[in-house]
Structures are given as structure tokens and as C-alpha cells.
């Protein structure tokens, strides 16, 4: 089973960011720690956000395994993240 690397871009602690972080934490537990999540505040690292072509926050990327997938929108539901990021 390949490890899954996710990268979440947020702008501070907005309600949407906190929901996304909470959902990703649930997923991390569901996947028995196979998922690692990196959280980047675009105000702390605007270069990274530009490099990943983040057009809005919060946005989550599946960095590995390839191919890279991006998901924006309602990140508060596990099912949405599993389907949108191809985690199943």
C-alpha cells in the first residue's frame, strides 16, 4: 500500500480551513496513518502557493502517489475527499 501525501493550502484559521483540517485528520485515522498531511498557510509561504498554482483557499492536493490531483470546494466531507482525491 503506497503512502499518500496530501498538501492543504489555507489562509489562516477560517471555518472552512478548520473543517478541512478536521476532515483530513479523520481520514488520516481511517487510513491507519497511511496519509500524511502538510498544511501550508498561503500568507506564510506565498511562493509555494504560486508554484502549485493555488487559485483559492482552502485547496487540497494529492501530491503522491501520482498523478497529482487537486480539490477545491466543500472539504468538510470525507466522501468528497476520498472521491475527489482518488483515495479509495
Amino acid at each position: 500500500m503506497h503512502p499518500i501525501c496530501l498538501r492543504l493550502y489555507v489562509t489562516g484559521q477560517t471555518p472552512s480551513a478548520e473543517r478541512a483540517i478536521a476532515t483530513l485528520e479523520e481520514l488520516r485515522k481511517d487510513f491507519d496513518g497511511r496519509i500524511s498531511v502538510e498544511v501550508i498557510d498561503v500568507l506564510d509561504d506565498p511562493v509555494a502557493a504560486l508554484s502549485d498554482d493555488v487559485y483559492a483557499t482552502p485547496t487540497v492536493f494529492r501530491i503522491a502517489p501520482a498523478p497529482v490531483r487537486r480539490l477545491f470546494g466543500d472539504l468538510s466531507r470525507k466522501e468528497t475527499l476520498i472521491l475527489g482525491l482518488g483515495l479509495a
Binding site: 489562509t11 483559492a56 490531483r69
Partner: protein, 132 residues
């Protein structure tokens, strides 16, 4: 009906947002300045605000502070071509507990819809995920 307020001094940008969201069931309001946007927000509390940063007279940071006083908790998307030059005031606003999300101009029509639907349809949850 959910209400969206667009605050941008550029008429073309306002038109783009209005066009992007025209087929959605949202009430749309566009304001050409921070002051006009605040007046609108005071009269009709929005459920989502798209706010430009670089505007004459009252910039977006100032408008954002007033917005949070008038409509605490309203989701605000700061929409800007590059927020680098505003990094310091944005972080200062953040440290004062003012929350906002960022969106980078130019936004496509689909991206505008994805942002609006992502914020406003969360509870209804009928919008499919927007993914590449």
C-alpha cells in the same frame, strides 16, 4: 436565498462575477467601492463577499475590517492578482482575528462558481467536487 456581494472598483471584474453566477440561485449585489460595499452589507447582510484588495479611497484591508464589524462571521474571499505587496497588512489583519480566504485573479467563470458553491452549498451539499 443566499446573497453574494462583490466589491471591486473594476467594472469588468464585477461583470465577470455577475456573469459567472447569473445561472445560480443567489441574490447578487455588486459595489464599485469599499464604501458602497459596506453600505450594501449594512442594508442586506451577505452570505459571501468577494472583495478586491487594491481600490482607491478605501482599500480592501480597510473594507475587510469594517465588514467584520458590520457582519461578523461572514465568509470573505479577498480576490487579488498578487497579494505579495499586501502580505504584511493581511497578516496583521489575521493576527487581529479577522478571517478571510484568498482567491487569485484572474479567476475563470468555473472557478468563481466553485468558490461560491463551495461556501454556500455546503449544508445543502449537492455541488459536486471541483477537481482537475
Amino acid at each position: 436565498m443566499k446573497r453574494i456581494l462583490i466589491i471591486d472598483d473594476d467594472a469588468g471584474v464585477r461583470e465577470t462575477f455577475l456573469a459567472a453566477l447569473a445561472d445560480r440561485t443567489y441574490a447578487l449585489e455588486a459595489a464599485e467601492s469599499g464604501a458602497a460595499g459596506l453600505e450594501s452589507a449594512q442594508q442586506n447582510r451577505p452570505d459571501l463577499v468577494f472583495l478586491d484588495l487594491k481600490m482607491p479611497d478605501m482599500n480592501g484591508i480597510e473594507a475587510l475590517s469594517h465588514l467584520h464589524a458590520i457582519c461578523p462571521g461572514v465568509p470573505v474571499y479577498i480576490v487579488t492578482a498578487f497579494y505579495g505587496e499586501f502580505l504584511k497588512p493581511l497578516k496583521q489583519a489575521q493576527s487581529r482575528g479577522i478571517t478571510f480566504d484568498l482567491a487569485r485573479k484572474p479567476l475563470t467563470l468555473a472557478e468563481i462558481r466553485a468558490i461560491a458553491d463551495g461556501v454556500l452549498k455546503r449544508r445543502v451539499d449537492t455541488a459536486p467536487p471541483h477537481h482537475h
